[in-house]
C-alpha cells in the first residue's frame, strides 16, 4: 500500500469538501449570526489547507489503485471528513468527543445527537447538521466521482467500496454517469420534498433542513421535539412518503424516471421492502390503537415511525419512548433490517435479509433432498456462491460489532435496553434508541468511552463493516511498511 497515494487522494476529497463550508456561512450571514459565520469560514479554510497539504504527498493522482488502497482511501476519507465537519461544532461550544460524535452522526446519516439544549445553537449549526447528512446520504465519494473529472478507473473502485448494500449492475457503463444520475435523482427528490413541506405550512428553514435529512435517511431535526414539535399531520405524511422513497433503491427511481414504469414492482427487494412496511405498520397500528384517540392518528403515527426506523432515518413524530413494550419490540425488530441496497439508508439492508432467509429455507429443503441442486435466487437469477458468502459474512460481522459495542456501552454504566438500542441505532445509522437514548433524549449522558465507541460504530456501519474491518488485518500493515 502506497501511503502517499492514500494521503493524496484523501487530500483531494478533503479540499473539495472544504468548499461546502461556504453554504452554512451564507445561512449564518442570512440570520445575522456573525460568530457562527466566522467559525464556518475558518473551519473551511483550515480543512482546505490541510487537504492541500496532504496532496503534496504526491505530485499527481495515481493511475490505478490496489484493492487495499481503495479501502484505505474510503475509510480514511470518511474519518477525515468527520473530523473536518466537527470543527464548527467545537467552535459552537461542544467538547471534542461530542463534536466528533455529532459530525460522524451527521455524515453517516445516523441522526443521533449529543446536543441537549437546542436554543444554544444558531441556524448555521442546524443547517450544517442537515447538510452533512445530505452529503453523507448518497456518499461523499460518489458525489466527487460524479463531478470531478480526475477519477477514471480508480473512481469505479472507490464508488463500489462506498456504495451501500451488495451492489448490482451500474445503471450506465460509465461509473461517472451512474454516480451523476443517482445524485440528480437525489437532488430532485430533495427539491420536491422542500416544495411539499412548504405547502404544508412548515417554515422555509425547517423545510430545507428536514428535506435534506429525510432524503439522506439522516434524521437530524432543528426542532428539539423532532417532527412531533410541529403538530402538523400533513407534514408528517409528506415526510413519511419521502422517507419511503429514500429507503428504496435510487437506481429504481432513476429507471422509473427514464420511463421504465414497472421497475419498482419488478424488483424483488422493493417488493419485500413494501411488504415489511405494510406488515409492520399494521402491527404497530394494532399496538397503538388502544391508547390512540382516533384510528387515523394511530395509522399515521405507526406508518411514520415504521418508516423512520426501517429506513434508518430516525425522526420522531411522537415520543415513542413512552410506548408499551409490544410497540417498541416492533421498532427494535425493524432496526435489524434497514432499507434497500442502493438507497440512502443504513442497516443490514432488506436484500441481505431476503437472501439470508432464502438461504436458510433452502437448507431446510436440502435436508429433505440431500442431492437437490438448490441455488439461492433473486429476481429469477442465481446468486453466485461468493456473493452469498459475502452476505453471510457481512451479517456475522455486523452482529459481532453490535455485540462488542453493546458490551462496551453497558460496561460503562448504561442499562441493558439503552446499551442494545444505542449500539444498533449507531451501527445501523438509525439515530434514536430507547430509554436513555430515546427520541427526545440525548446521547450526551453516556460515558465518554461509550460515545467514542458509538462514533466508531457509526463509521463502521456506514462503510458496511467489511470495508473497515478488512484494514485491521495484519497483512495490510505489513504492506504499509513495505510501501
Amino acid at each position: 500500500m502506497r501511503i502517499s497515494v492514500v494521503l493524496h487522494t484523501a487530500g483531494i476529497f478533503l479540499r473539495y469538501f472544504a468548499l461546502t463550508f461556504a453554504l452554512p456561512v451564507v445561512v449564518s450571514l442570512l440570520y445575522h449570526e456573525w460568530r457562527d459565520a466566522q467559525a464556518f469560514a475558518v473551519s473551511g479554510v483550515l480543512a482546505g489547507a490541510v487537504g492541500q497539504l496532504m496532496m503534496r504527498a504526491r505530485s499527481a493522482a495515481a493511475e490505478d489503485l490496489t484493492r487495499v488502497e481503495g479501502l484505505a482511501i474510503v475509510s480514511g476519507t470518511w474519518l477525515l471528513l468527520a473530523v473536518a465537519a466537527a470543527l464548527p461544532f467545537l467552535a459552537s461550544g461542544l467538547g471534542v468527543i461530542d463534536a466528533l460524535f455529532e459530525s460522524m452522526s451527521g455524515l453517516t446519516t445516523t441522526g443521533a445527537t449529543v446536543i441537549r439544549d437546542f436554543s444554544q445553537h444558531g441556524h448555521g449549526i442546524f443547517f450544517w447538521r442537515a447538510l452533512t447528512q445530505w452529503f453523507g446520504g448518497m456518499g461523499v465519494i460518489a458525489l466527487f466521482v460524479a463531478i470531478l473529472p480526475r477519477f477514471g478507473i480508480a473512481g469505479r473502485q472507490l464508488f463500489f467500496a462506498e456504495a451501500p448494500g451488495p451492489t448490482d449492475q451500474p445503471l450506465t457503463p460509465r461509473i461517472r454517469k451512474t454516480a451523476r444520475a443517482l445524485w440528480l435523482v437525489y437532488a430532485g427528490l430533495t427539491s420536491a420534498e422542500i416544495a411539499a413541506l412548504l405547502a404544508t405550512g412548515m417554515p422555509v428553514f425547517d423545510s430545507v433542513c428536514h428535506a435534506l435529512a429525510t432524503l439522506a435517511a439522516g434524521g437530524f431535526s432543528p426542532h428539539p421535539l423532532s417532527i412531533g414539535g410541529y403538530a402538523n399531520p400533513a407534514a408528517e405524511w409528506v415526510i413519511t412518503f419521502f422517507m419511503f422513497a429514500a429507503g428504496a433503491n435510487f437506481a429504481l427511481h432513476y429507471r422509473t424516471l427514464r420511463g421504465e414504469t414497472r421497475a419498482f414492482l419488478r424488483d424483488e427487494e422493493f417488493r419485500a421492502y413494501l411488504a415489511i412496511v405494510l406488515v409492520a405498520t399494521v402491527l404497530l397500528t394494532a399496538c397503538l390503537l388502544p391508547s390512540a384517540p382516533r384510528t387515523v392518528e394511530a395509522v399515521r403515527t405507526a406508518a411514520f415511525q415504521v418508516l423512520s426506523i426501517l429506513t434508518t432515518t430516525g425522526f420522531a413524530s411522537v415520543d415513542f419512548q413512552l410506548w408499551n413494550d409490544q410497540a417498541k419490540m416492533v421498532l427494535l425488530t425493524l432496526m435489524f433490517i434497514g432499507g434497500c441496497a442502493g438507497s440512502a439508508s443504513g442497516g443490514p439492508k432488506v436484500v441481505r435479509q431476503v437472501l439470508i432467509a432464502r438461504y436458510t429455507l433452502l437448507e431446510l429443503r436440502r435436508t429433505l433432498h440431500p442431492r437437490g441442486v438448490l441455488p439461492v435466487k433473486l429476481g429469477g437469477r442465481v446468486v453466485p456462491d461468493e456473493v452469498m458468502r459475502a452476505v453471510l459474512v457481512f451479517f456475522l460481522f455486523y452482529l459481532l460489532v453490535f455485540a462488542v459495542c453493546t458490551l462496551v456501552v453497558s460496561a460503562f454504566g448504561a442499562d441493558m435496553m439503552t446499551a442494545i438500542t444505542a449500539s444498533i441505532a449507531c451501527l445501523g445509522n438509525i439515530g434514536p434508541g430507547f430509554n436513555a437514548v430515546g427520541p427526545m433524549a440525548s446521547f450526551a449522558d453516556l460515558h465518554p468511552v461509550s460515545r467514542i465507541t458509538l462514533t466508531l460504530a457509526m463509521w463502521i456501519g456506514r462503510l458496511e463493516v467489511v470495508t473497515v474491518l478488512a484494514l485491521v488485518r495484519p497483512e495490510v500493515w505489513r504492506l504499509v511498511r513495505r510501501g
Binding site: 433432498h369 440431500p370 442431492r371 437437490g372 441442486v373 438448490l374 441455488p375 435466487k377 429469477g380 437469477r381 442465481v382
Partner: protein, 446 residues
Amino acid sequence: MHIVVVGGGEIGYELTRELSVDHIVTVVDSNAEVGRRFESLDVAFIAGSGTSPDVLARAGVHGNDLLIACTGLDEVNMVACALATRLGSRRAICFVSREDFHGDGSNAQAVRSHFGIERIIWPEAQLADEMVRIIRSPGAIDAEEFAEGRIRLLEYRLDAGSPLTSAPLAALRLPRSALVVAVKRDNAIQIPRGDTRLTVNDKVFVMGTPEAMAAIAPMVHAHAASRTSQSVTIIGGGDVGFRLAQRLDDSDMEVRVIERDLRRGEILAASLRRALVIHGDGTDLELLESEGIGHSDVLVSVIDNDERNLFASLLGRQLGARRIITRVGRSANLRLFDRVGIDVALSARGAAVKSLVHDIRGGHAHLLAVLDEGQATIVELTVPAGFTPQALMDLKVPPRAIVGAIVRGQEALVPRGSDQVRPQDRLLVFVAADSVHRVRDFFGPT
C-alpha cells in the same frame, strides 16, 4: 425435385431414405465415413463441409429446389441455408437444437429472413411439447391439438372395466362433440361403425372439442384420476427434459428433474422457478427410492440413450410410478418399448422427419400429426373454392379415412353425416397410412 441434404446423421439418413424414392437427392457431410451408409440408397454423396460454397456448388444448389440442413450444429445449419439461398437455392429448411433461433418473436423472424430460411424445425421441442400434451391428459397415451386447441385428439388404451367396452358404440351415449375415429386392435387400424363393440386392450382414438374430451375421460377409465395436480418426475435434463420442465414449471404440477451432470443441473436449477432439480443418476435405484419416485403420477425418461432410458423407465415402473413416458432414439426400438410395458414411447426425429416429408410432397393436404409410429396420420384438407356444398355423408371419403372435425373460420365442429361441407372449410381427416395418397389427392392434384 432436386433436394440437397446437408448432414448425414440420423435425421439426414431418415429424410434421404424417404425422399429419395420420388426425388433426386444429394447428401453433403464432412465425414466421408458417413457416405457408406448411403451407398444402399440411390443418392449422390459429397464429402465436404456444408458451409463451403464450393462444396454446395458441387452439390448443385444453383437453381435446385430445396436444401435441408440437419447437421448437429445449429450455426453450421444456418450458414448452410444462408449460402444456399444466396447461391440460388429456391427454398431452405433448417434444423436446430436450441431455443435461440426458434419461436415466433420478431427477433427469430428477423434471423430467419436474414439467413433465407423458410422454416426452422426443432425436433426436441416438438417432442417435449407432445409430452406436455400427453401429461396434461390423464390416462391418455397420445394427445394432439388442432385448430389452435379447439379440437383435441386423444389415444387411450382400454383396460378391464372401462365403461366404453360395455356396449356397441351407437349405444354408448358419447358427448355430442366427440367422435371415436379409429380403433387399433391386434396392431391393425380400423374405422369403427355404430355397431362396433370395443374390447379390453383396444387402443381408441377420440376426437372432439376440449369440453367433450373432458367429459369423455371418466368414460374411458372407470377409476380415472380426477386430480388435476400431478407429480411429474423427469429423468434426464437434456434439451427435451429441460424444455419439458420449463413448460410444466408454470402449471400447478409438482416437477422433479434428475440430472447426472452437476453443471447441467445448475443451469436447469437457475432457470426453473419451482421445479426441484436433483443431481444424480436416473438409473440409481437407491436415489429413485429415497426421492420417492414411485409416488409420481408420471415418470418421463428422456435420457439420450435408449438402453439407459429403458432401464430407468422399468425401474420407475417397478417402484410404482403410474404412467411411464419414454423417449426413443432409434425408431426401430419403438415396438420393443411398447412390448415391455412402457405406456408411451416417442421418437423425436421420427415425427419431425415424417411431417417434413409429407409437406414436401405437397397437395391440398397438410399433415398435422403422425400417430402410432406412422400407422395413421391426421391430415388437413382445404375444400377448394369452386366446390359445391354438400352433406358430409354424400362426400365419398376414401376407405380407411374419416372426417373428424370441420374447421370453418373461428369455429370448429365435430360433424355428423348430415352436416354440410362448404368451400374453404378445412377438414381434419384421420387416415390410415395405406390410404394417405388417396386422401391427399381427394380434391384433385395440385
